[in-house]
């Protein structure tokens, strides 16, 4: 009874600002301008399959790069002295204290054809490289902005692995590589899965990064939705339909991810908790 009372404000808040808006999105998606039921919007989403594919591809590439860069760093942090660990974690989070837009603007001025990097290249006698407004720049922006969300969950899982478990593996005959592959990596899968989810989801639906670093040629789902609500192609019904489809895709992705996680739990991950 008491917990119900305490949770009441949260329940009300969530109903008002999460459940109701989602319902509204669904309603918009299945109606036309006059408010009559239609499947047109959903069917029209199919036209943008190339945008969906590009979003998922770039999001997946950015997630993979974040994982490849972030896992070793998380591992190094977890192996550092306790006093050094907190400093390193702070350094990982430090960029997040700076405004997201500002950080992305900074990359614009670095990557521009007349930007800092190209000027530097010219100064040392190398040719200019076209970097801004490419898919690569978008991926770079995604990795740069979201990699802390990969590092932190992996780090927190790695830090919790008891050293005696690693010693037990060595004791049973595992060398450094085997210890990592057979004990550390499987035991840190739950962190990897949260990291992947936390990077992939915002990367797939971003619109600022693609707008600022991708130019017009790298339209992502986020941009498409943005255009339906604020841009020239004003059509909230279509925008809602795209949002809904994106949400379903993300839910399927997360469902697959959590499947991995559940397997871990069933095999005795309870020890970690």
């Amino acid at each position: 009874m008491r917990t119900k009372l305490i949770s009441a404000p949260y329940t009300i808040w969530m109903t008002l600002f999460i459940i109701v808006p989602m319902g509204l999105v669904a309603v918009f998606a299945f109606t036309d301008k006059s408010g009559a039921f239609t499947l047109d919007n959903i069917l029209r989403v199919g036209q943008y399959s190339n945008v969906f594919l590009r979003s998922i591809l770039l999001g997946a590439v950015a997630t993979a790069i974040s994982l490849l860069l972030g896992y070793p760093l998380a591992y190094i942090i977890s192996k550092a002295k306790a006093s050094r660990q907190s400093i390193m974690v702070m350094l990982v989070m430090l960029p997040m204290w700076m405004n997201f837009l500002l950080r992305t603007y900074a990359w614009m001025s670095l990557l521009e054809d007349n930007g800092l990097i190209n000027n530097l290249l010219v100064a040392i006698g190398l040719p200019r490289v076209h970097m801004i407004n490419t898919a690569g720049a978008v991926v770079l922006g995604m990795v740069y902005n979201y990699i802390p969300y990969m590092i932190l969950p992996i780090y927190s899982v790695l830090a919790k692995i008891d050293n005696s478990v690693i010693e037990a593996a060595q004791d049973l005959g595992a060398n450094g590589v085997k210890v990592f592959l057979k004990v550390v990596l499987p035991m840190s899968m739950s962190g990897v899965i949260s990291g992947v989810t936390m990077v992939f989801v915002p990367a797939v639906s971003t619109f600022i990064i693609s707008k600022m670093l991708g130019g017009g040629g790298n339209l992502l789902i986020g941009d498409l939705i943005d255009m339906q609500f604020l841009g020239s192609a004003y059509n909230p019904n279509l925008g809602s339909a795209i949002s809904l489809v994106l949400m379903v895709i993300i839910m399927i992705c997360m469902g697959i991810m959590n499947q991995f996680d559940d397997d871990e739990e069933n095999m005795g991950g309870g020890m970690l908790l």
């Binding site: 005696s164 037990a168 005959g173 085997k178 035991m187 871990e264 095999m267 991950g269 020890m271």
Partner: protein, 380 residues
């Protein structure tokens, strides 16, 4: 120790962050022995075990395994397996895979692995548990898996780091006798670390009593109990009244103002010594009677089930007596001693610091032990 030595530690010194944990440590362990390293927390016993396991590199000194120097051999290449204090099972693997872990690394065939795992499960009484997750097991079952996992690797030596300390009393007793049985059945060397003296006495062939990084005494459980070499050992193993005495001559000792025939010799004439008298060896007689060597007043009586534990104030020094005779607080009683009861020890750094029960309480003894725990034991 007439068995062939399997492990020899020679002049080992280990320090963590400038703190000396072991110094000039020498120990030889025979093949097939059940050896217990016994001492209070922070005495360096776990460090000895970790040195043998390869997890601690000594600052100086050598470790020999069957006569071969293994200082530079990493843990995964030593024919030694460890049962860790907190079990350290792999949470992402089930019981079967935990036990199979070492064999898989060695590339054993699947049917051989299956056979060994089944054998091991049978040995530790976990038949039918192969496919449980280790998180679903009780503490005692997890401990058994840890033992099976270590033994499945067919080690020459099994190291056990306080493996029973997390279990409740009943389970601990069961596991003690089971471990002893397993050791006798497979005949390999067990090196067991504990701070529980009763555990050490009941399981071991040889007990190594340690304090402050040094060996205080090595011997069979009976030797250690009956012939402690100094006040520390006497106090740590069981209850002891430790008094100042004087060795008048060989076989003649003076203690508590009386002269007794003694079974000990070789201390020299008129030499100050420590005297140990075990509480269970003292008889209560009427005060002032001919056989009463000392007289005192009862200050506390505790019922312990089998016996009473009575604290007697004799001119300010408090004796502990364990007896089946009852007495009441305030009674004046006489204590009778026989030469057999009096064990003479040379004076040591521990003289005068222990063996008086004036501030005695069980809780306090334990609290002191806990607080002396060194960071170094848990340092890595």
């Amino acid at each position: 120790m007439n068995k062939k030595p399997i492990i020899t530690l020679k002049d080992i010194a280990v320090s963590f962050d400038g703190e000396q944990v072991l110094k000039n440590f020498n120990l030889t362990i025979g093949d097939g022995e059940f050896v217990t390293l016994l001492g209070p927390s922070g005495c360096g016993k776990t460090t000895v075990l970790r040195t043998i396991g390869g997890f601690v590199r000594p600052d100086s000194g050598d470790v020999f395994f069957g006569g071969k120097k293994i200082n530079d051999v990493p843990p995964h290449k030593r024919a030694v397996n460890t049962v860790f204090q907190k079990y350290a099972l792999f949470p992402h693997l089930n019981v079967y895979e935990n036990i199979a872990f070492g064999m898989r690394l060695k590339g054993k065939k699947e049917d051989e692995i299956k056979k060994t795992v089944t054998e091991m499960l049978h040995m530790v009484n976990l038949n039918g548990m192969a496919h449980r997750g280790v998180g679903q097991l009780s503490g005692g079952q997890q401990q058994r898996v840890a033992i099976a996992r270590a033994l499945a690797n067919d080690p020459k030596i099994l190291l056990l780091d306080e493996p029973l300390s997390a279990l409740d009393l009943k389970l601990r007793k069961d596991m003690q006798s089971e471990l002893k049985k397993i050791q006798q059945a497979i005949g390999i060397t067990f090196i067991f670390v504990t701070h529980d003296q009763e555990e050490a006495l009941s399981m071991s062939d040889t007990v190594v009593v340690m304090d402050k990084g040094e060996i205080q005494q090595i011997g069979s459980p009976i030797d250690i109990y009956n012939e402690p070499t100094n006040a520390f050992v006497a106090d740590f193993i069981g209850e002891s009244n430790i008094l100042d005495g004087m060795m008048i001559d060989d076989y003649l000792v003076e203690v508590a103002g009386q002269r007794f025939k003694s079974l000990d010799s070789g201390f020299g004439k008129m030499k100050p010594v420590d005297i140990v008298i075990r509480p269970e060896d003292i008889d209560i007689v009427p005060t002032g009677s001919a056989s009463a060597h000392v007289n005192g007043e009862v200050t506390s009586v505790t019922f312990k089930g089998v016996h009473y534990e009575i604290i007697v104030d004799v001119d300010g020094f408090k004796w502990m007596i364990q007896t089946t005779d009852s007495a009441s607080v305030g009674d004046h009683i006489g204590l009778a001693l026989t030469p057999d009861d009096i064990h003479v020890m040379a004076k040591s750094v521990y003289s005068g610091t222990m063996g008086d029960y004036s501030s005695f309480s069980d809780e306090m003894g334990e609290a002191l032990q806990e607080s002396s725990e060194e960071v170094t034991e848990d340092a890595d």
